[in-house]
């Protein structure tokens, strides 16, 4: 048992580092310790430039085959590259994550040769950005209950309806669309997958303002949007099968990178600085209990990730941590931030520049409810663990064999 690279891994890490040294500079302490993830604000332009650079070398998507611009590498090599890249002061390429992580893989699985030839490389280079158009007001946790209609008209499909919780739609060029082509068959059987340009007439993007004040997501409205049948991915009525691939990728994505920089170390730091009724907060037994409780959860997640990476580096399937990470992190963020605010006392009600540490814990607390919901609620994730990891039976499904337009909706 050790944390060392295998010889091959070490060689790859050295290559990656050499390339990064040649193309970027290491982070300073300042950039590194950025609790609020300021770098999310890095302009899209810088992101595209860096993405293009990575793409030239095949580092943009290491596990993809060389033919489509990847490196034909292993998942572990991707992990290693990410670890190394994180040490450098480079643009945040998160804007491409959904496109490359979910949309393009679906396109590569179901798209025509021409489509693949046309769209993969530009997406990989960051020249074109993709978004995912599944969630709807009527859908939510029950994604397949979506209502956006795609009706055949000659050789075209006409799209009407709306999508919600779409990340990055405001700067996306294309979207992966799941729409209902037949409401007279059961929910999962009437869906079809398409892709479309986000820039064409009839597509309207509106930002959603969240409780926290931020606007990371969008609502999309489709009004008689025409797309050719050639932009269909997979067979008519087979959209759910395609979507499952996409969603599986999403869980990994969201599950993986969560929580942000606000965790036990920041709480320990705060506790060192504050004085309570009985002395320094860090010496208060109740504070120490909480710190320990949260630490074992954070550490447990970290080492669970190490176990997964070990599995990866042995060429095995990823472990369960993708599904447990968000359950643990989201609630911890909510509770830990609330606790920190209580340590701050009445002043804990202040935020922004007036808040302690510029309101870092207040921001965490305001964002936490969203984290407990986005990409699968705590409840949905527990269902997933129960059903997919533990193999427990599904709940009773009353809508399973009912035509979609006959299924109960309460309306």
């Amino acid at each position: 048992m050790d944390f060392e690279d295998s010889p091959e891994e070490a060689r790859f890490r050295a290559e990656a580092r050499a390339w990064l040294d040649a193309n970027a500079k290491l982070k300073t302490a300042r950039d590194a310790g950025d609790p609020l993830g300021e770098d999310d604000k890095t302009s899209l332009k810088a992101a595209k430039a860096w993405q293009a650079k990575k793409a030239e070398k095949g580092y943009a998507r290491i596990t993809w085959p060389k033919e489509v611009g990847g490196l034909g590498g292993t998942p572990m090599q991707q992990v290693i590259f990410n670890q190394e890249e994180a040490k450098y002061d480079v643009a945040n390429t998160g804007a491409f994550a959904i496109g490359l992580g979910m949309c393009i893989p679906t396109l590569m699985a179901y798209g025509s040769k021409e489509a693949i030839a046309r769209y993969v490389k530009p997406a990989l280079r960051g020249d074109e950005i993709w978004c995912q158009l599944f969630s709807e007001p009527a859908g939510g946790s029950d994604v397949a209950a979506l209502r956006t209609r795609a009706e055949k008209d000659g050789n075209d499909w006409v799209i009407n309806g709306s999508k919600v919780w779409t990340t990055g739609a405001q700067f996306s060029d294309y979207g992966l669309l799941l729409a209902r082509t037949d409401p007279t068959v059961p929910k999962h059987k009437g869906l079809t997958m398409f892709y479309l340009s986000m820039k064409q007439p009839g597509v309207e993007v509106r930002p959603i303002k969240q409780a926290s004040g931020a606007s990371g997501f969008n609502e999309i409205f489709f009004t008689n949007v025409r797309i050719p049948d050639s932009q269909r991915l997979g067979e008519v009525g087979q959209g759910w099968q395609a979507a499952l691939t996409t969603l599986m990728h999403e869980r990994l994505a969201v599950g993986g990178g969560t929580g942000g920089a606000l965790d036990v170390p920041q709480l320990v730091q705060l506790a060192r600085e504050l004085e309570l009724e009985d002395g320094p907060a860090i010496k208060n037994a109740a504070v120490r209990e909480k710190i320990a409780d949260w630490y074992v959860r954070s550490a447990g997640l970290k080492y669970t990730t190490y176990r997964t990476m070990t599995a990866l580096s042995r060429g095995q399937q990823p472990g369960p941590e993708a599904s447990i990470a968000k359950i643990v992190v989201a609630s911890k963020l909510q509770d830990l931030s609330a606790f920190a605010m209580e340590l701050e006392g009445e002043v804990g009600a202040l935020t922004g520049e007036d808040g302690v540490e510029n309101g870092a814990f207040q921001m965490g607390w305001l964002g936490a409810p969203g984290l407990r919901i986005a990409g699968g609620t705590d409840e949905i994730l527990r269902n997933i663990i129960a059903e997919r990891v533990l193999g427990l039976p599904q709940d009773i499904r009353v809508d399973k064999d009912v035509p979609f337009n006959k299924a109960p909706t309460g309306k």
Partner: protein, 375 residues
């Protein structure tokens, strides 16, 4: 055994409820959020007409002299409505500080104005993050002059008067503390608006530079007086919290009944049913603890400090849980600015921090248990 409010008190509650469900809808709260104003002046004016601020103020000081039980039922309704007015600062804290520590002259002079909502008052304690400790109070009050800085003062931008915890002598400890009553409309007072997690409860930093002020109560008794004020305020605020928690449960229930997923109302899923059952249990316990507090407050019972701490802790926990799980029950839409869930989430935290966090009250609670247990 008559552990409930009287029919008259319930009638008063219904009236308050009717009034507020007309005059203080979520739109009202949203208005304050978006206008950037510090509170809703129109609503405050109407509350003045109803005389609510004078509910527990004796008639000889221009109040209605109804009593604390009546004030509790009004507080619950203000809590349900998240009323964006400086009621709690002015009535639960400023007025109570006058009643606890004020001289006859001070009461005669100011309480009638409070009762008529002609003035807004508040309490200024904190000078920085962490516990508020006697030894750390640096604001001074000497020869009628107040100097220093207070932070996170609720309604501090609008208050006409503040009761300020200051040091009145060289004694570095509790005995050296003095409550000072200061008119905030003077040159020696600077105010700076501070950003709050709850935009409908404005906070401010107050800076005093040789501000003219007067003593409130005896030096050396400031700390114990202050705690008596906080005990009373905690019980009244517990009713606001219980009211807010109750609305969260109703919102969550209403949404879960009408929202369908997988062909059935989400209210039929055990995860949701049990979540709401837990909210209900917590809210019931908090309500009962608040009732006991109301009894202790209205009778000035020996148990008041214990009752206040229990009401405070229980109500804070209930509102915290109901507010966050209400958002969770709503899912994505519950986290949008358009939905009202976040008003309650933010208010739950703000009320849980004003008057001091749970930790402080839990400590007070156990101290009381030790005393009673020793007796």
């Amino acid at each position: 055994m008559n552990f409930d409010f009287s029919d008259d008190q319930k009638m008063l509650k219904d009236q308050a409820h009717k009034f507020l469900s007309e005059k203080c809808t979520p739109k009202t709260v949203r208005g304050v959020y978006q206008s950037g104003s510090t509170f809703d002046r129109a609503l405050w004016k109407q509350i003045a007409e109803l005389g609510w601020a004078g509910t527990a103020i004796p008639e000889q000081y221009g109040g209605l002299g109804l009593g604390y039980l009546e004030l509790c039922v009004i507080a619950e309704e203000l809590g349900r409505a998240l009323a964006p007015v400086p009621f709690s600062s002015t009535v639960y804290q400023f007025a109570e500080a006058l009643l606890v520590s004020g001289s006859e002259e001070q009461k005669q002079r100011l309480l009638p104005k409070v009762a008529g909502c002609e003035i807004i008052g508040t309490l200024a304690r904190a000078e920085g993050p962490g516990a508020i400790l006697p030894k750390n109070i640096r604001t001074t009050f000497r020869n009628g002059k107040l100097n220093g800085k207070k932070t996170a003062v609720v309604d501090g931008m609008d208050a006409d008067y503040a009761v300020v915890l200051a040091r009145g002598s060289d004694d570095a400890g509790e005995r050296g503390l003095q409550l000072a009553l200061v008119d905030l409309k003077q040159a020696g007072v600077k105010r700076r608006a501070q950003q709050s997690i709850d935009p409908s409860r404005a906070h401010a930093e107050l800076t005093f530079e040789n501000a003219n002020a007067e003593a409130l109560g005896k030096q050396g008794e400031a700390w114990s007086d202050l705690n008596r004020v906080l005990d009373r305020a905690a019980i009244l605020m517990a009713f606001e919290q219980v009211g807010g928690a109750d609305v969260c449960l109703q919102m969550a229930k209403g949404y879960a009944m009408e929202r369908y997923a997988f062909g059935r109302p989400i209210a039929s899923f055990q995860a949701i049913k049990h979540k709401l059952a837990d909210m209900y249990v917590g809210n019931e316990l908090a309500r009962s603890n608040a009732y006991y507090g109301a009894w202790a407050l209205s009778t000035g019972a020996r148990e008041l400090p214990l009752a206040a701490a229990a009401a405070r802790v229980s109500a804070t926990q209930a509102f915290d849980f109901s507010a966050k799980e209400n958002i969770q029950t709503h899912g994505g839409v519950g986290f949008t600015w358009e939905f009202d869930c976040h008003f309650y989430y933010k208010r739950s935290r703000e009320l849980g921090l004003a008057l001091g966090p749970q930790r402080v009250w839990k400590d007070k609670l156990v101290t009381q248990l030790e005393l009673s247990n020793a007796a």
